[in-house]
Amino acid sequence: MDHGTFRELAAGAALDDLDATERISFRAHLGFCGPCRDDETALVDTAGLLALAAPRRLPPASLRGGVMAAIAAAGNRPVDIPTAVVDLEVIRRERTRYRRLSVAGLAAAAAFAIAVAGLGASAARLQSDLDAAAGARDAALAQLATSDAAMSVVLAPDHATAMLTPDPMAAGATVYVVFRPGTTEAWLMAGQLPATPAGKVYQLWWADEAGVHALTTFTCDGSHACLAPFGVDLAAATATMITLEPVGGAQGEPGPQVAFGQLEG
């Protein structure tokens, strides 16, 4: 797409009416195009003002109590977000001198620790059934090998990290990409990602200036954090995305978006 095409997408973006390919391409383009960023911001605010044109209606008095009760029921901590990550958010507020990527790296490490704990528990349970379930054992060992590979990236001094924003279907999920620029060591780390629905898989995507590229598919059981390898060098990537696809992966256009995040590019 050329710049003019992206400018035409700005209004659709403001009304959230882009298809998945347009959305990821547009978000990726915003990463390096100031005028389009300004356009989008102005159009988003224009759409916001348009809401004021709705005929005025007063909410019933009972609504306030209902809202506050729902908020009280939600608790004093964000639900579905690992405590370790929440604590890191406090660090981010209080220590603003931290660079964004450094904090995200710490948060990814925290999320990753949760992943390892989950996988470790899974492997321990499987150990007792090794004789009867050699296949399961191998799968668990493969998961642990996967966690080792991902951990090596987290611990590498040259790693970079970015956070993905979950869509409503994955509300509460914590999703990070950790990678070593210049290598194909790149992992998705996700906590609280909903269990993959039957007949579906999650699929990774990445975007650069050349376009949007489909990558591997993976599943999550919903109870543990999950990891998935990108298998490509994300140094030039401008964005990454998770979508929900039929088993076998997308056949053309990406399916519903699960999470999205911009990278430095």
């Binding site: 209004a11 009304l15 916001g48 809401a51 004021l52 008095a61 609504l63 958010e89």
Partner: protein, 210 residues
């Protein structure tokens, strides 16, 4: 375009937004109550406009505030004003409800930009009325075709494809009309658009009994 009703510097307003959201992230219930006082009226109005049903509008408003309470960090100031984010959340949730509950609103695609007022006498905020009048005046300056397409896309929640089908026009034409309408509104409303102040949507009148 009328004079700006508020003279608060943009940075100060943004700082107020940031402070409020920071308090919400720290789970200060007074902050979420303050946010409710500011936005519940306009959010309810928008949700009612989209869903056409009181109980669904209430559900939308509740979901918006609970979502903000759970994860205020999702607001990205670089992508627009706080009010824009809240309205966007409400609109999306309302559209989702309409689509899930097809019978909620049988007049989904009715075009009604004449903006009938159900309760003209309750809004005592002159500046809010001024801003509303400004937005509505801007809308009336749009050509009918663009106005209709934008209305269908924004308030009826139709996709560009559905707008094209509804109006029996090519998809490209529908996209162009919607985009052009939004751009014209942006130009008419001017740079103040990107500096939407939360107090512009302050809702301080006493709510009605249900």
């Amino acid at each position: 375009m009328p004079d700006e009703p508020l003279a608060t510097p943009r940075d100060e307003r943004r700082a107020e937004d940031a402070a409020l959201l920071l308090r919400i992230r720290e789970k200060d219930e007074r902050a979420i109550e303050a946010l409710y006082a500011r936005y519940s009226g306009p959010l309810y109005s928008l949700a009612y406009r989209v869903t056409g049903a009181d109980r669904y509008a209430q559900e939308v408003v509740q979901e918006v505030f609970v979502a903000v309470w759970k994860d205020a960090g999702r607001y990205d100031p670089s992508r627009g004003a706080l009010s824009s984010w809240l309205f966007s959340l409400a609109r999306h949730k309302a559209i989702d409800l309409v689509r899930k509950e097809a019978n909620v609103r049988k007049h989904t695609a009715d075009v009604d930009l004449e903006l009938r007022e159900a309760d003209d006498d309750v809004d005592q905020e002159a500046w809010l009325r001024l801003r509303r009048d400004t937005v509505r005046a801007a809308i009336t300056q749009l050509p009918e075709a663009q106005r209709t397409a934008l209305e269908l896309a924004f308030f009826a929640g139709l996709t560009h494809v559905e707008v094209a089908e509804k109006l029996d026009i090519p998809l490209g034409t529908a996209k162009t009309r919607i985009r052009t309408a939004l751009l014209k509104l942006r130009d008419i409303l001017g740079p103040s658009v990107s500096e939407t102040d939360p107090r512009e949507t302050l809702w301080i009148t006493e709510p009605s009994a249900s």
